[in-house]
Amino acid sequence: MTQDINFMVGGEAGQGVQSAGLLLAKAMTRWGYHTFADQDYESRIRGGHNFFRVRASQAHVQAIAEPVNILIAFNKESVDLHRVGVVSGGAIVYDGESIKDVTGAGLVSVPAQKLAEEAGDKLMSNTVLLGAGLGLIGFDLDVLADVLRRFFSGDSGEKNVKAARAGFDHVLKGYPNTYARKLKATNAPQRLVLTGNDAMSLGAIAAGCKFMAAYPMTPTTSIMEYLSAKQKEYGLVVVPAEDEISAINMVVGAAYAGVRAMTATSGGGFCLMVEGLGLAGITETPIVVIEGQRAGPGIGLPTRTEQGDLEFILHAAHGEFPRAVLAPATVEECFWLTVKAFNLADKYQMPVLVITDQHLASSYAAIETLDLSGVTIDRGVLYDGKAQGVYKRHAYTESGISPRAFPGKPGVLVVTDSDEHDEAGHLTEDADTRTKMMQKRMRKLYGARKEIAPPHLYGSKRAENMLIGWGSTYGALKEAADMLRKQGVSVDVLHFSELWPFPAEPAADAMSNAQRTFVVENNATGQLAHLIRRETGRAATASILRYDGRPFTPAGIVRAVEKEGCR
């Protein structure tokens, strides 16, 4: 039987929920398990209630699952809120000296603060409880110690090892059989544990991004922070701009000058960027914009997930211009589609948007190492210096792509304009030139369309039911399909991670045999369902929508589609 376990770490902001959760994910990964971990946090610096869920499995899981096997609670609230979600036979690990009045089954009381103080610092209570939680499943303390030493630098590595050992030993002595399902290490290649944001940051550096300007906004702030930390070593300039308007316009200027450039934001910041997006469109400047969605409108739910910006992103900015829109399904795709975004942008001289959401941006997944030899760099058609007469930045061509030159080179002047312009880039109001220039720009989409991958099909294309989604829901959809199949339901998954230009033909083809289609989205209006209907003429049987700021779980999808007639 496949070993599969769900941990939850809960507590206040500032209690070390995030680091304990991440260490748990790293430890299980080092033990050879596939892991997936998500973060649920409030928009505050201290206090409140946060939790971090870690799922570890011998199967390749890419979603969070219910119920919780082991709850590691840093405060009373975590016990009270989440004990209902703990499976029968599960365990609740907590500091019984500070959390009183807890009764029931599966309780594992650890004097965490006391043991942490003995190990050298009471702030390490979280590490004590982590050690205790892993002690329950029969984890290998040496592996945990190694993970802790890598994570904490200097002295604090050893101190944390001591703290973890104290929790571990306490459980071995006091609660050897409280949790019956002991797990074993499994053989696997060493995997990386990273978030969607981490993968996008690495993708940007690998793709040769040299310039980033951004304004911090949850959930994409860590991309800006990561690139800032690496800018010296990797030849980058990262500008913390005064606002998102400035950020995107700086990016357009840097890209015009000749470097790969990007920004990252969330929906609210992207609202401020849309005019700049149009500027990139008309000046044919290649830029990459990462938009990590969160629940809107307005400030919405600042730290929570949603897929509410799809139609906005497809149409953002006035007027019409070519763009590409990618929406990674997994942490791996966050890397590869960021690389692809830079290539598409350069090749078609247009803005490319990469959409994630809070769930994918801040969830950790264990992935096989990234094969960097697969990264290709395509800067597109560059000017060879052999123009008849003056260089024309926006020369008419069959493909619509005009050879690019960069300002600063003798004999070439690069002229472009946010006004409609002629081939040389000078502003014009001539009707004929306008028509030709619009056609030239829009023609680029014929080429770009061919580069868009068809949607992922998980299944045979012959199933009676089809679950359809985009972006971060892929892992949950696949697992929901697995659960339905076990119940004898005939079901496929069709999932889009490259959304524009829309792959209409492969989508229509993949959907052609399904009798019932269920479009599953984290929004209130069914935006992908609209897009599919518009582009293929096919209406969904039902939309399964969730817009409470929380991600789908496989079991939640199963319940919802069964209610809508999936059988």
């Binding site: 400035s246 700049g276 600063g408 070439v412």
Partner: protein, 284 residues
């Protein structure tokens, strides 16, 4: 080959006859030629409106931006390729209204660019509405009872750390040429606010009105290194209006702060995906 103003000739200007912009264009051309800058070494980034058309008439590399947004793309281009001489042109609406935030922060961070603001105290291309620098009481179609207090761009620049703060006059090309040259030579953010009479929509602040009032700071033995004195000097307005450099200081530019730029222009730096390998181990 000797550089002449013919090297800085673009399209034929579509400005009103007698427009103050002609003086600014003339001074910019002369400054670039006298400095020996080849057109390919110059990037002109502009706002929109009548001032925004200047780059098309001047030559050089041109990036004609959005309203209020001339500054950020200019900063981005300069950071990507610091060898470019980046000059921004905008009107008072774009510079001090729509784009005031960018102006403030570009001055504060001290990006090495030169900002020429065509300040005619009125919106011209939309045909005569109030601007952020319209004098108090100035009657326009959108301020029938008179405009509120204007912004003082030079005082604002001083307040936010502008390292080169100057005022020119479109009616004195010779003096303006000198200012533009000084601005380009200055390492850091240079603001040159240029009094530019609008012959169509501002019938108060005319060439004649200015000629009766302007005087030059440098003739009066003015010290450009004294910020406190500059703060007083930029507030003189009315019967006498000072022209020239009010304040200048040397301090590190924003570009100086980036290690990546010590290896030269980012545009010339190679892309090596394999170098990311080293970063992967951080995630184990």
């Amino acid at each position: 080959m000797t550089l002449t103003v013919k090297d800085y000739t673009g399209l034929t200007p579509a400005w009103c006859p007698g427009c103050g912009n002609f003086g600014i264009l003339g001074a910019l051309r002369r400054a670039l030629v006298e400095m020996g800058l080849e057109p390919h070494q110059v990037l002109l980034v502009s706002d929109i409106g009548q001032a925004g058309k200047l780059p098309h008439y001047a030559g050089g590399n041109v990036f004609n931006s959005l309203h209020g947004r001339a500054v950020p793309p200019a900063l981005g281009a300069k950071l990507a390729n610091p060898q470019l001489n980046v000059i921004i042109t905008a009107g008072d609406g774009g510079a001090y209204g729509e784009g005031a935030n960018h102006f403030i922060h570009a001055a504060r961070r001290n990006h090495d660019v030169t900002y020429l603001v065509h300040d005619n105290q009125v919106y011209g291309l939309t045909k005569g509405q109030t601007s952020p620098t319209s004098e108090a009481g100035f009657v326009t179609k959108t301020t029938p009872d008179g405009a509120p207090l204007p912004i003082n761009p030079l005082l604002l620049a001083l307040a936010v750390g502008g390292s080169f703060v100057a005022r020119g006059f479109a009616g004195d090309i010779e003096h303006l040429t000198t200012l533009i040259k000084q601005g380009i030579q200055h390492r850091g953010f240079s603001l040159i606010d240029i009094l530019q009479p609008c012959v169509s929509f501002n019938h108060k602040n005319t060439f004649a009105w200015y000629r009766q009032r302007v005087y030059k700071l440098d003739a009066a033995g003015y010290n450009t290194g004294d910020r406190s004195r500059a703060i007083a000097a930029v507030q003189e307005w009315g019967d006498r209006i000072p022209l020239g450099v009010f304040f200048t200081e040397q301090r590190p530019t924003y570009e100086d702060g980036f290690a990546a730029l010590r290896a030269g222009s980012l545009v010339d730096q190679s892309i090596e995906p394999g170098r990311v390998e080293k970063l992967l181990s951080e995630f184990m």
